[in-house]
């Protein structure tokens, strides 16, 4: 009995924390403090809004509405018929804000997922194998850092064809650089830990070590970059759309602001400018709050446990 226990402990010490204990700590941290709970709640609410958009919308967001007297409802302020007023073409702004959450979440999560997967893979391969592989991959990272981010995204998107998919691809092509550099540093230090060396001596192949021993340990850091990445991708997408280079067939918060800006309606139609902006801020702050608590998890010093 006690022999089994001590064997178990040795084993635990030898393999580092398992996936399960890691996820347990993560859950504890995520729901511990208020700001994280607020962040998660806001994100969940936006996901619900995006999923239930057809139910929540009061109007077709593209429809040109008319006033009771038959004229087009141009730039009507908020009213019972149009909760957040109308655009210069009489389109319902509330419905546009609701449907705009889809583009934001889609770009945010897909782009962040892609950047994190690419960045983490590059980091793990470079950090674990070292040598010329590491040199080569890190030069690629240096090079990616030399390319100005927003200009690259807008030019690539406009060259390929303005669409949400191309915005996601353009963001992912460059943004993986930051996670790759930081996570590689972490892998470098992990590689020298006793339990990794033990695994290697025991005959575990490189891919097995990477999957079972390295990846669980860099997961929190990868999730931190994912959380930050969601916010950044949302801001980047809205910037691209604001600059008039987004998908013309998709309503996003950025494209709404682009129209309010280029038509000059922003001079008086505050109801057209404020709602999309507040939506972006709310969603992005929420991802930052979640990111901050993941950071506490990734960096035990902030947790006060080490």
């Amino acid at each position: 009995m006690s022999r089994n226990l001590s064997e178990g402990l040795t084993l635990a010490a030898a393999t580092g924390p398992s996936w399960r204990t890691r996820l347990g700590i993560l859950r504890r941290i995520l729901f511990r403090d208020l700001s994280t709970a607020v962040g998660i709640t806001v994100i969940v609410l936006f996901v619900l809004v995006a999923l239930l958009a057809p139910v929540l919308m009061t109007d077709d967001p593209w429809a040109i509405n008319r006033r009771p007297n038959g004229t087009i409802a141009r730039l009507d302020p908020p009213s019972r018929a149009h909760w957040l007023g109308t655009t210069d073409l009489g389109r319902d702004i509330y419905s546009q804000v609701v449907v705009g959450s889809r583009a934001a979440l889609l770009v945010g999560f897909l782009a962040a997922l892609m950047t994190t997967v690419v960045g983490t893979s590059v980091a793990v391969i470079a950090g674990y194998f070292g040598g010329w592989v590491d040199d080569l991959l890190m030069r690629v990272v240096d090079f990616a850092y030399a390319v100005p981010f927003v200009p690259f995204v807008i030019i690539l998107v406009s060259l390929l064809k303005p669409s949400l998919a191309n915005v996601i691809i353009a963001i992912a092509l460059l943004y993986w650089r930051s996670s790759a550099r930081v996570i590689r540093a972490q892998v470098l230090s992990l590689r020298e830990r006793p339990y990794i060396k033990a695994a290697r001596v025991a005959g575990a192949g490189p891919w097995r070590i990477i999957y079972h021993h390295i990846t669980p340990n860099i997961l929190p850091l990868a999730m931190l970059y994912m959380a930050i990445g969601v916010g950044w991708a949302i801001i980047t997408e809205s910037s691209v759309s604001f600059l008039g280079l987004g998908d013309p067939l998709v309503i996003s918060w950025g494209s709404m602001l682009n129209l309010a800006f280029t038509t000059g309606a922003m001079q008086r139609a505050w109801w057209w400018v404020l709602p999309p902006g507040f939506s972006i801020i709310l969603l992005v702050v929420a991802t930052f709050l979640v990111g901050r608590s993941v950071e506490e998890y990734a960096n035990p010093r902030l947790r006060g446990e080490v």
Binding site: D142, F143, P148, P151, I154, I155, L159, S238, V284
Partner: protein, 324 residues
């Protein structure tokens, strides 16, 4: 030692720029379908089309085009703008100055108010001032900078009419020389809104850096000693703690200029500031690709130079970096 390090970094920069130029070259030829259709109106007759392609050298094999492109880019020849109908070189001069001036103004305001704000937050640590004050940069960081810009335009330009809503100088304002063009009240008046808006966006980083670095210093003996000597709290904060907390801030400041140059696009567009960033957007919208290409390369060179400068500053402050 230092000279060799500098030379190596310059060589690295040149290599990187060559790679960026290559990527740009390939990118602009990636356009699905016939890339020349964006250059020549497809309704033109075939002979005229061939004539135009020939004049721009687009009928030659790709590797030849690439070599000509590189050779010209090195000499600063970025080709011909379809929109302005003039050499690209002739239109970039003023834009470089405009972009640099806005970036510099942003830089000074960001670090001035960022550091001051950080001191206040650290000083009032644990009070509502700190918790609310730490949240403000977060919100401005999450707000797209063009949206903050639009709010400022709505309030200070359209409603209150205190500031102009676009451009760099009042229409009809004639400067007699370059100096007067930029050192004038009219220019400052146009500069203020865009500079303040980008400052609000960037300020959070130095602010939180200063705050955290100062908090780490609070437990040090020299702080207690300074207090014990009966110094005023302000003096303790500014003369002693801040001084020791500044190193990470200086390092981040060096990196910042490169960041501000590359991130300028959206602010310039919102305030119709005639700089490189806005021109990239306009040229892309107009499909004036030679201009977009040139602006992109110039921005990349600018960012590269700033990062080189950052490395130099960093190497000077922390000699261990040089030895690697």
């Amino acid at each position: 030692m230092r000279v060799r390090y500098l030379l190596r970094r310059i060589l690295q920069l040149a290599l990187t720029m060559w790679l960026v130029a290559t990527i740009v070259f390939l990118m602009f030829r990636l356009i699905p379908g016939d890339p020349t259709s964006t250059l020549v109106d497809p309704t033109f007759p075939a002979s005229l089309r061939a004539e135009i392609l020939h004049r721009f050298g687009l009928d030659r094999p790709l590797h030849e085009q690439y070599l000509t492109y590189l050779a010209r880019a090195v000499r600063g020849d970025f080709g011909w703008s379809f929109y302005y109908n003039s050499p690209v070189v002739e239109i970039v001069g003023d834009m470089i100055i405009n972009t640099l001036l806005l970036a510099l103004a942003t830089f000074f305001l960001t670090y001035l108010f960022g550091i001051l704000g950080g001191v206040v937050l650290a000083w009032k640590h644990g009070t509502p001032v700190d918790s609310v004050g730490s949240l403000v940069p977060l919100v401005f960081r999450a707000a797209p900078v063009f949206w903050t810009g639009m709010l400022f335009l709505m309030v200070f330009s359209y409603r209150l009419d205190w500031f102009p809503h676009a451009g760099i100088r009042t229409a009809g304002y004639a400067a007699t020389n370059l100096f007067q063009k930029y050192v004038s009240l009219d220019f400052l008046w146009h500069l203020l809104l865009p500079a303040v808006v980008s400052t609000l966006y960037y300020m959070g980083l130095p602010m939180l850096l200063v705050r955290n670095a100062m908090l780490e210093n609070f437990g040090e003996e020299y702080v207690e000693f300074a207090r014990a000597r009966g110094m005023s709290e302000a003096r303790v904060m500014f003369r002693h703690v801040l001084r020791n907390a500044l190193l990470p801030v200086v390092t981040s400041a060096a990196v910042f200029l490169g960041l501000a140059l590359g991130g300028q696009i959206v602010v310039e567009y919102t305030f119709s500031w005639p700089g490189l960033g806005r021109e990239i957007v306009m040229a892309t919208q107009r499909r004036d690709y030679p201009v977009a290409q040139a602006m992109f390369l110039l921005l990349a060179v600018g960012v590269g130079l700033m990062n080189l400068m950052a490395d130099m500053v960093y190497g000077y402050l922390d000699p261990r970096v040089r030895l690697q």
